[in-house]
Symmetry: D2
Subunit: 132 residues, 4 copies
């Protein structure tokens, strides 16, 4: 991980894991050929509405982490993901989940998950692994 992400305990600071979850979500959207950029261009934003993290063992500067993301169910007006973060030795570093809402960027109103996205999800993997 990045040196700037460590703290004076020598651990990767716990606030970074929400960023790693986000990296995995972006990768997931790319994997289903549906970039977050395109979502925003279509007037839809996806703010996180809740998050839960369990820190199992610390991560260190020199670690290579992977996040395994699983889509819990087909998205409607919300979408929930689960995450498992593993280091290069295969050790579980953290687990967690986040729920995101679909909102119109114009007035921040709830909207349904774009059909063009749900269609892609029907036929495609819903669990991906991102390393960084």
């Amino acid at each position: 991980m990045r040196y700037s992400e460590t703290d004076q305990m020598g651990f990767v600071h716990h606030s970074n894991y929400l960023k790693y979850f986000e990296l995995a979500r972006i990768e997931w959207l790319n994997a289903v050929e549906f970039s977050y950029k395109r979502l925003e261009e279509n007037g839809v934003i996806m703010p996180v509405i809740d998050a839960e993290i369990f820190f199992k063992s610390p991560a260190f500067f020199d670690d290579l982490l992977s996040v395994e993301l699983t889509l819990v169910e087909m998205p409607k007006i919300k979408v929930k993901f689960k995450y498992i973060v593993i280091n290069h030795l295969g050790k579980e570093v953290a687990t967690g989940s986040t729920t995101l809402a679909f909102l119109t960027s114009k007035n921040n109103r709830p909207t349904r998950c774009p059909e063009s996205l749900t269609e892609k999800l029907q036929s495609l993997l819903i669990s991906i692994k991102t390393s960084f």
Copy 2:
């Protein structure tokens, strides 16, 4: 909030709230006259072992946020805090909780909350409010 904490949705990025919770904990330790620095000097570290956040309404660049921290029960080998984040208009922005473990910094082993800290807690307020 800091400009660097906003994202391109114009919202304070959700990963920052774990930092705000941490600011409130530091303030709480100061309020009971027990700095985190002193804890570390005594060979005790307090990593976060789980966290939960509910994002109620977005925070913006110009907002002034306050975090109300409540100690859920007397700390033993773990300590749990609850948080309510409110903006300058009194609107609830987020709520959440974190559990922290007491570990020896030498070998990252669980240890009990230092008595010098629990003593202070007996007689002192256990709910504080931090603004920033």
Copy 3:
């Protein structure tokens, strides 16, 4: 400073100073009664176009830092600030400078500093101190 801003050397990570400079600029705009928010609402953005930092002595978790900001000259299409960062013991932690451009938010084209801002600067202090 925030615990999340330390790194495993135990120092405040050097990338944070550009955020502290920014905090001082925001404070400076507030001091001349001209919020950055209002600037953006008027279709003007102020990206940083260059920055220079000299790190004199490390800052630590428990330090209270102040940034003294000085406006180098009346802003035209650019504005340059100098900064001195001092800790609570009066020790110089860092110095630096940044140049910012005035751009239209619509198409990122150079524009002149809004007159309503330069007017305020004529009569007001151009050096301020921010603590955090």
Copy 4:
């Protein structure tokens, strides 16, 4: 770049570039088979003592950036690097330089660059490119 690194102008926040420079330095140490971790284990730390950045054109969320790092001269008690940041379209996003000091981690005193490192540099490339 990471979504969390954007700001409400829609640009990658300028404070992140110092982190990108750091990523390139870590990669450079790896390229000469000399990890930063090993340096710290040998009681040597390398804090940044000055930095300079010129922001040429904004970087955006979906950009892939590369940093080309060049070692300016053989390190003695300091080491200076130059950087060019380029996006996936080949456009120059930023340039800059940083100077780092070699210090003993024990008492933060200046020390010479470890010989084991300078030896490696004699025979190896001193310009590398990191993408992320």
